[in-house]
Symmetry: none
Subunit: 200 residues, 4 copies
Amino acid sequence: MSPRSRELSKQMKAESRKAVVSAALELFAKKGFSATTADEIAKKAKVSKGLIFTHFATKQDILLAIVDEQLERLFPIAFGNDDARSPRDKFLALINAWLNVMKDDPLLIRLTLQLNLDDAWRKLVKRKGKRYIEIYLGGLRDLIAQLGSKNPDLDCYLIAIFFDGIAANYTVAPELFPIDAVKDHFVEMLLSRWKKSPKR
Amino acid sequence: MSPRSRELSKQMKAESRKAVVSAALELFAKKGFSATTADEIAKKAKVSKGLIFTHFATKQDILLAIVDEQLERLFPIAFGNDDARSPRDKFLALINAWLNVMKDDPLLIRLTLQLNLDDAWRKLVKRKGKRYIEIYLGGLRDLIAQLGSKNPDLDCYLIAIFFDGIAANYTVAPELFPIDAVKDHFVEMLLSRWKKSPKR
Amino acid sequence: MSPRSRELSKQMKAESRKAVVSAALELFAKKGFSATTADEIAKKAKVSKGLIFTHFATKQDILLAIVDEQLERLFPIAFGNDDARSPRDKFLALINAWLNVMKDDPLLIRLTLQLNLDDAWRKLVKRKGKRYIEIYLGGLRDLIAQLGSKNPDLDCYLIAIFFDGIAANYTVAPELFPIDAVKDHFVEMLLSRWKKSPKR
Amino acid sequence: MSPRSRELSKQMKAESRKAVVSAALELFAKKGFSATTADEIAKKAKVSKGLIFTHFATKQDILLAIVDEQLERLFPIAFGNDDARSPRDKFLALINAWLNVMKDDPLLIRLTLQLNLDDAWRKLVKRKGKRYIEIYLGGLRDLIAQLGSKNPDLDCYLIAIFFDGIAANYTVAPELFPIDAVKDHFVEMLLSRWKKSPKR
DNA sequence: AATGAATGAGTCTTCATTCAT
DNA sequence: TATGAATGAAGACTCATTCAT
């Protein structure tokens, strides 16, 4: 008789929004943005098609929201490092943080890769990530130098490439890719190389 | 009517087909398959929209043809190595061949990456490449082992990842990525690591 | 529960209904029926969208109600003339009554004009107004004849047209149209014409 | 075998465009812009729905085109007067020109009336007509003064209103409205009034 | 009586594909 | 072989209406 409580109403809306975002993320990541229809998103999210557009004005806005919210959520996790450790531990923590992000949200990483391959979307993603990446790469460069790298710039490139390469393989078939073994192998290779001439 | 004109006619057809394929490749690589319209392809190829469909029954067939023809063309170049050399030279030749392919056809590599991120297309590309990749990886594994790798399997993964990571960065902005420096750095790192205990 | 609260409840309902009708009238008149959404009506009426449909089963019913109630309300005012005066005064009273209706409810008149231009709605409006208009025009015709018109039928048309023409201009921009001056001018013209040969 | 001649192709396109414009004009005039669907337009124009949008990017653009092209076409006819005559003949010519426009294109006039009643469209129509109307009303005012009007401004209003009032009645049911008789009656009334004190 | 989230039929618009020439 | 007008199925988006509370 009385209308739904303000609280309940808000909660319902938040839940349906989340369902839409989640369904869209999966479909965008697996089929691409353009190939994904609003109908499919609605079906997977188990809401009506119309409801999507009470949350987002356009299909594009769903992707925009994903990039805004989800990426924003991920960067701190991926790049946020605590300072109270040795350079080596810091380095390992960084690598592992990134890898955990990939393991926790492979779809999001896969989508990011996709957007990066798309002229129309690349800029947006770059802009979003730039702030974090600059800080990250700056810190990483110093760390690498401390660990004994002779050429921290190129090593940074190598690490960045490593992550993209892992992402391109792991996120499309997580169960088939030995992500941890490969990571350990790569890290060991780097560390053993640097160790030989550590910055005193 | 005369053999000459028939010849000419054939040639014109081949040329317009090539123009379509080339335009489609660029657009597919930069915007994605679904986001590319037949109109855009026709415009870029400077042919009429109708002509596209005399060459290819559907838009999908254009992509299929690209994958068939272009990829088919690339694999031998990328993986074809002449045998008359030392393992080290062979290894370098392999790496360089792949890199040259990327430098010569960044759009094609970019498209391949994209297709790999797409559930509906991944299988196709995998199938196409499988034969070559198996041979390639087999050969590479042996080569690496000969060069002193302690763990040729993981090193293979590393190299594969390296190429994907390079591709993800280089093909979207070739002018910004120091592809050769990074490659040299990576190769040097691998070789120096293996050198220490070469398989005699 | 108590009679008091039931009373209050009824009153509240009547008020919200009125708000809806009033908001709908303005929007229908300014944007047209089809271009007006239930959301807009709710917003302007400061009620929830759902409430609209407790008062009216369909959006159409709102317009129907406006026509029924409002037009019904207006006709007696516009056409109701008291008899205790000279033909000239009666004539002036009629004209002024109509004009006052227009000045009091320009939106309603504007809406009526609009409905008249719409094949699907014209009939309805015509039917509603017919009874009054027939009486009115009959009375007007006699009045005009008494005042000396040589051709009361055509003069009736002229007067009818005059009102529509005024309406088309005044109701869309009341502040810009010198409605009284124009009315006085028109009335004076008619009366001076008839005066020359008044039916004794 | 060879493509349609450039000529034929152009002609086809022009014809289908005309069919769309014509169908849209009728439907917009009779049902209103918002209540008219693209499907209806296509059906009445006997073209496919898709074809509409090769001519016009949006439904709105059809209306815009009608206003641009058709109104533009009408104004010179309605307001274009040849100078080589007496003021009285000029005046009659003006009135008749307007009336002929209404008789030739009642749907267009009806649509114009409708747009005038719509807040969102009124400005556009006003702007389109302003240039002509200013010239027209300026000329008319002088003409009226020459013909002996004591108050040319108010007489201009009267004439403008007369046209709008006629339009509101004639264009929705041309067969029912004695347009010529009413016009003659009105013109005679004005002229006889002015005659009594012509500007010498 | 009142709310606003949810629905889905309906509308506008796009675009791969066809077809007459 | 080549053209581009034409088609219509499919997709994005709107909005009157319903419904749980």
